[in-house]
Each structure stands twice: as C-alpha cells, then as structure tokens.
Amino acid sequence: MNLINEWAFIGVFLAVAWVLPVLPLVVSWVFRPRKPNALKLATYESGVETVGDTWVQFKVQYYIYGLVFLIFDVELIFLFPWALAYNQLDFFAFGAGLLFIFLLADALIYAWRKNALEWT
C-alpha cells in the first residue's frame, strides 16, 4: 500500500497547490477596483490599433521543432528504463542502446542536412 500512500501525498499536494495561486486571485478579486470600459479592454498592440485576426499564419518551423521534440521525448520512454536497469545489464544491452540511439541520431543528422533545424 506504500505506493498508493505516496501518490495520495501527490494528490493532496495537487489540491493544496491549486489553492495557493487561487487564493491571491480571490483576495485580489475582492479588493481590486472594477471600472472596465471598451477602450481599456481593447487589445494592446504597441499603441497601434489592432489589424486583422490574431490567429495569424505561423511558419512551419515551429511545427518541425515540436516534431523533433516529440520524437526525442518518446525515445525517453525506452531510454529511462534502459538507464535505470543499466548496471545489471551486460555489454549486449549497451549494444542495443547504442543501436537505438544511433538510429535516432540518424534522423537528427538527416534533419540537419536538410536544413530543417535552421531558424529562418
């Protein structure tokens, strides 16, 4: 039952930690003045009137960074258990890990060669 106990702590922690940022917001909600007007609530863009839709087209570079990050993140699902068990394993495990990382490094090298990592 120790496992559940540990996570009960995390659960209570989450509940308490949730209250901590909300509390100042509530206090502020009680004390702060409320005098909104249309001009005040307008979007601020460096003193110039807002033009067009906010959701402007973004460049695909952001997606590519997110993509490479996702692939490396998933790789960690395997690398963390591998690293964790590493000192009980033999050289075969090192070889498997080497091959695993090498295959992924390949993808990184490809992206590099294709200039996909370039911030343009």
């Binding site: 609530l41 690293a83 911030w119």
Partner: protein, 412 residues
C-alpha cells in the same frame, strides 16, 4: 522502530500512539507535510526576488530596494499588496476561461516540483520511485501554461511570444533530459533520495562535469534566464506572452518565474552536487537543510550575476546552439558515459558492495569517467574554437563585401 523515510511516516505513528484514528492520522500528517513543503517555495519567493534585485543592483552600481523594512526586505510584500489591489484587465477579445487558468497552471507546475525535492535525509515531501521523471513531466506542464496564456490573450504579440517560448522550452528540454540520463545510469535509480545517497561517496558534478554543464545551461534556458531570456523580450516582443496580463495574474507569472529559477538550481544541487550530503548529516539530519540551501545559494547567486551581466542572444542563435551543439553533444555524452561505465564495471573498478558511500572506493570509477569527460571537453572546445573562427572570418568577409559592394568589381 519506524524507519524515517519521509514526513508522512514520521508523524503518523506518533498521532496513532496518542489515540487518533489511523486513517485520520495519515491524512493529517499528509496535509501537514504538504503545507510545510508548499510554504517553502511560496515564502521563499519573497526572499528570492529580494536577493535577485539586490544583486542586480550591485552589478549595476545601484543600491537596490532599501526603503521598506530592514535592507528593503519587505519591498516585495509591498509589491504583492500593490498587485493585489490593482485593477485586473481582461481584454474583451480574450478567451476568458483559458486566460484565467493560465497563471494558475504556471504557478502550479512550479510548486508541484517541490513535492519530490529532498531537504535532508528524512525531510522530503514524498520519495517517489520515479522522482526524476516526475519533475521532468511536471516541468513540461509549464510549457502548456505559456501556450494557454499566449493563445487566450488574443493578441498577436502575446501569441508570437508564446510560440517562441514554447519552441525554446521544448528544444532545451531534450538536452536537459539526455543529460539527466547519465546520473540515472550511474546511480541506477529514479528516486531523488536515492540519487542523493548515490552521491555520498562522490558528487556527480566531479564524475560527469559535462552532463552537469549541459543540465545547467539547459536549465537556464528552461527557466528563461539570461542569456536565454527571450521569454520576456521587452524590446522585441513588448514583453511576450504575458503582455495582456495585469494585476495579480501578472504577479503569479512573475512569482512562478522566480520560484522556477530557484527550483532549477535546487534540482541541480540534488542531482549533481549531492543535495543534503555533507559532514555530520547522519547524526543531525537537520544539518541537511543547511547544506542543501547553502549549495543551492552557491550556484544560484552566480546565475543571478550572470543574468545581470550578459546580453540576450538572438533566437536563431539560441536555436542553433541547442540543435547543432547541445543535442548532439548530449547524445555523444550519454553513449560515451554508458560505455565507460560498462567498461569500469567489467574491470570491477566500481565501488564494491557496501562501500558505495566511501570516498576512496569511488575514486577509480571517478577517474575513468572524469578522464572520458576531459577528453570530450577538449574535443568540444576544439570544435567550438574552429567553428567560432570560421564564423568570424565569414562575417568579416561578408562585411568587407558589403563595404565594397557599390563599386564594380575590378578584373576577372
């Protein structure tokens, strides 16, 4: 006797002994532990901001806050009171629910990390078996908060700022986690407390300075500290993702940023500098607090001086530095360290069972790993120097071309 593992288990038996219902006793002890642990970062933030302002002021030859309270210590309390009583402006175009949730999520993601940070051999919120992975996972929720803030503000600058922040954070998370793999590999554990215990013989910063350096640099970027403070590039993005925030919501973003900076350094201390380890800690666990905070200050204060002195990098430089330098380097680092560790194990250079905490017994392993690190560092410096020279020459050549450009080229 009860083994003292964490706050829960030291308090609950006492309550049960004095006649409380076991379930209730457990709940009370958990709640108390939670309060103790959460109050630390929140109370600390007042001090962190004060330290930061004082140091920034010293660097810039100013005095810094000195009016409110002794040495201006209560300046931040006054600031917080001001923020609370400020009018809160929610732009009319904003997506209200997400807009209001974003600062809460940002703060939450930082405070939650403190649940697994060991303060001393017996004082830790909870020693999860996956502690290292836990704080990486919680840290990634922070990324989401920036995205929510930028998107919900419905402002081009905020959204652009949020996109840049997220791109920066996700990029630098890769070298950070790859650098973390090496301590996990050597210590063979993901639990924070065992990570500290694995360093009783030798700090990991000595065994693997390169991993420590990569972790430190990517932590700077993760917390948005100079020179990577593009998160709040006032000059380029009119403050970035939190431009539309005001009042206490803005205050929460600021507070979470300051807590995060300190937290990142605390994590560095736990994983690479032995956490609470120090002489006399076995007899007096409370000494662990002192060592832990002392070590954290030891690397926190240089990071503040760094923040006050270095200029901001350009975003393309930052991204190139990460993808073309840090990520390949950390991959090579993991492989080399894994290989050397296995070799050391086969040659039985690792400390024999029962002597893991002994300084002398750790020396052979340390020597092997350190030698590998030094070779890698020399290689890295060579590469850096050559690349730097090439880029400088290229830039100078380009400049010369620009100067000469208007005139028609002679000959050839």
């Amino acid at each position: 006797m009860e083994q003292c593992i964490n706050v829960i288990e030291t308090l609950a038996p006492c309550l049960v002994a004095s006649g409380t219902d076991p379930g209730l006793a457990q709940f009370i002890s958990i709640l108390l532990g939670v309060l103790l642990v959460t109050i630390f970062p929140l109370g600390g933030v007042i001090i962190f901001i004060w330290i930061e302002r004082k140091i920034a002021a010293r660097v810039q030859d100013r005095v810094g806050p000195n009016r409110v309270g002794p040495y201006g210590l209560f300046q931040n309390v006054a600031d917080a009171l001001k923020l609370i009583t400020k009018e809160d402006i929610t732009p009319a175009a904003a997506d209200r629910l997400i807009y209001n949730f974003a600062p809460i999520v940002a703060t939450l993601s930082v405070i939650m990390i403190w649940a697994v940070i060991p303060f001393s051999p017996v004082h830790i919120g909870v020693d999860l078996s996956i502690g290292v992975l836990y704080f990486v996972a919680i840290g990634s929720i922070g990324t989401l908060a920036f995205m929510m803030a930028g998107w919900a503000s419905n402002n081009k600058y905020a959204l652009l700022g949020a996109f840049r922040v997220v791109a920066q954070l996700v990029s630098y998370e890769i070298p950070m986690v790859l650098a973390l793999l090496v301590p996990v590999l050597i210590a063979g554990t993901l639990s924070m407390q065992e990570m500290v215990q694995a360093q009783l013989g030798m700090w990991f910063v000595v065994m693997m300075p390169l991993s420590a350096l990569i972790f430190y640099i990517s932590n700077l970027a993760e917390t948005g500290r100079a020179p990577f403070d593009l998160l709040e590039a006032e000059s380029e993005l009119v403050a970035g993702y939190n431009i539309e925030y005001s009042g206490m919501k803005f205050g929460l973003f600021m507070a979470s940023e300051f807590i995060h900076a300190f937290t990142a350094n605390a994590l560095f201390v736990v994983i690479f500098m032995g956490g609470w380890a120090g002489p006399g800690v076995e007899q007096f666990p409370a000494l662990g607090f002192v060592y832990f905070l002392g070590k954290t200050m030891l690397i926190y204060i240089p990071s503040l001086i760094l923040r006050a002195t270095v200029p901001r990098v350009r975003i393309d430089q930052m991204m190139n530095f990460n993808w073309k330098f840090l990520v390949p380097l950390s991959i090579i680092n993991v492989l080399v360290m894994a290989f050397l560790f296995k070799v050391a194990q086969v040659l039985s250079l690792t400390p024999p069972p029962g002597l893991e905490t002994d300084f002398i017994a750790n020396l052979p392993l340390t020597a092997v790993l350190l030698a590998g690190n030094i070779v890698m560092i020399i290689g890295v410096l060579t590469v850096l120097r050559n690349t730097g020279r090439r880029e400088r020459l290229e830039a100078e050549a380009r400049r010369a071309d620009d100067v000469r450009a208007p005139a028609p080229t002679m000959g050839r």
